[in-house]
Symmetry: C2
Subunit: 454 residues, 2 copies
Amino acid sequence: MRSFDCSELKSILDDRRVSTGESVRVLHSHDESFHAPVLPDVVVWPHTTEEVSRLVLWACRSKMPVTAWGAGTSLEGNPIPVQGGMVIDFNEMNKIIAVRPEDFQVDVQAGVIYKELNKTLAHDGLFFPPDPGAAATIGGMIGNNASGSRSVRYGATKDYIMRLTVVLPGGDMIAVGNRARKSSSGYNLAALFTGSEGTLGIVTEATLKLAGLPVNFMAVRGTFPAIRNATDTVYAIMRAGLLPAAMEFLDANVVQVLNADKGLALEENPTLLMEFSGYSEQGLREEMSFVEEICQANGALSLDKGIGPEERARLWEIRHYTYESIKRYHIGLSPLIMDVAVPLSRYTEMVEFSKKEVQDLKAYLFGHAGDGNIHVHVMDDPQDKKRWARVEKATHSIVMKALEFEGTSTGEHGIGIGKSRFMRQEHGESLLLMKRIKALLDPDNLLNPGKFFP
Amino acid sequence: MRSFDCSELKSILDDRRVSTGESVRVLHSHDESFHAPVLPDVVVWPHTTEEVSRLVLWACRSKMPVTAWGAGTSLEGNPIPVQGGMVIDFNEMNKIIAVRPEDFQVDVQAGVIYKELNKTLAHDGLFFPPDPGAAATIGGMIGNNASGSRSVRYGATKDYIMRLTVVLPGGDMIAVGNRARKSSSGYNLAALFTGSEGTLGIVTEATLKLAGLPVNFMAVRGTFPAIRNATDTVYAIMRAGLLPAAMEFLDANVVQVLNADKGLALEENPTLLMEFSGYSEQGLREEMSFVEEICQANGALSLDKGIGPEERARLWEIRHYTYESIKRYHIGLSPLIMDVAVPLSRYTEMVEFSKKEVQDLKAYLFGHAGDGNIHVHVMDDPQDKKRWARVEKATHSIVMKALEFEGTSTGEHGIGIGKSRFMRQEHGESLLLMKRIKALLDPDNLLNPGKFFP
């Protein structure tokens, strides 16, 4: 543990918002991954960008690492303060500064939880589409370029960033971007910070683009005899020019756990959950019969379907349980979740390859199929070196296969600790440029150090 | 003129592809703007990334500026070699490397003209949506983050970049990005190069995301008693959650020139051109009556409308003539085209303010209204210092107003020479970070020097 003068910090924030207490530090030592917890030296709760600036200035002068903290719901160890130092917790910096329905925009502080934001925005018929599922903060989502099941239609967080306020190492505050729907002015710095996992600067505020809430919904749940039938269906639906609002794959193991955990009686087969949204009910009915036709042509065993928000909720409910049900089904074990994404035409091969690689493990395959993104969720014991080495070996093969398919090691969970070992392979010569940019902005390597780069 | 050993260049490319001829240099001394031409020292036509790399290496060793050249259709002097040196012309590097309909992707060399690309892609029912109008190359569009009338629905070039091959100053070749539909891996370098106007690196190849060609179209042309009625209609249509595929504004002056130049008899009023596309004709009819209702509520004087590709072509034809008709109407004068974009809710104010600022000039207002983007097209004589100072004064007021509205000095034309004087005002402290990134990548300032930065 570092020694430092806490009274200096308490001259920046009031007493209550600076803590070196054991329990607080433990709470900020881990995310939802298996990665080993590391205690920070101190946790702080700023309320304004100016306070963050002064904290970062202080930390940089003290050569103390600084890690930004949203909700701690990351899956790759992204916010674990592996070199200790200061954790800046954004949970008290959670104001919705201004809703601008007239511009389809909202200004928020980084600590706002996106689900809370969407509750507020619903009053104006608007929403912020990326939906990672957990209670993530906007700041965390920006750091990670988060996405989720709606990204097949709406894109990832990066597609919704108009303007950011960023505190740079050293404490300088800058604003990047503007509020126009488009711009060709200057380097796209907002895109550089988005997805940089707090390694280049700390995002404190954002102007987000919003989408109008769809008027009507249609949902289909289909089950298939084999993985290939389900994943080929995904491909056929995307190729047909249909524009799903979500397109999720679950393998039979996932359905089996859902049945056990939730007392359901779903057919334990590879399953697709699909959602479509639109203006006219007639239009949705036309799309529905087209979707049915494609599912049947690909050998669907059963199709459950419906139109309207209630039907959508009924058909989709199970997807929201997935993560928690798997966890509860394996109390005492930790999750390692692979997150590769590949071009759509390689999705079937990718999923079948992954299934084979983990056939001797407690593994669950599900993912945002419409984006070519598959989560291979393995439950095991990181303390059991031999078993964990087996899990890591599977990760390695699966990532290498995704890269061979010109895909990515991580579709949405980010690099953090878990994927840094693949950065060289994935980015080749361009990794050097990333390192040069990191060194330019953060020469003392104080922002979220010890991860991201291999 | 620099002295250099041309034989060294001819050892990289064959004779025919290296030229110091006067006429060739003149052709590469200007774009379509009023900005003063400057002759390059030499023009080269590479065929491969490796050749570009060797050319850039040679130029950097010789401390010779390097400017990439697409079609020369820029409007802000973006490719004018203001410090002379080498112009790399991409017109012979125009291969469509691979169409991948199964992934909605295409791999191209940077010199491909986007209209040619779209002709090829149509065979697979696909297209690359950004449409700047001129015969732009993909490389130029990437450099400029080009957009156009379809961007209100489909976004700008940056939204279609999956992977780039880039030659860095010094000649290093890197690939950035991947072919998955989404990724949270590493810094978004592709976004950094897109819109950097060839000042950070030279893009030689790209993997582009594609969209499916719409099945059906609906178009409406409405005329209105005053600018405000037209621009308020834009706002109302966007707010209603309708998703136009294009939404263009033309002021009465533009219509008058079109009538004169093309022998048409259109009502010389503020005009909106709108396009909608979709799957079901019934859905489009529903949208059409909604659109009509909104236009009428905003005082529309006339509405012409139709469904299907022919009707769309008929109603839209005039938009494609605009630029050329204005030019032909003022032979001997040069265009200065302002290109501000503002949040939608400020669009009416922005257009009315602009109209007032140029009321004593030969000025035409038109633009991508659905994006809050307005072009104020002034025809005048840059040699007449007093008159041109008047034009520049209008530019200044209009840009300052756009920035006051938290918009941008350029929605799609880029910075080039013309907008560099606004960079400080627009980007504030973040301009310093742009300069640091420029200095990191191009310490000798050899890539497209003398513009972009103030």
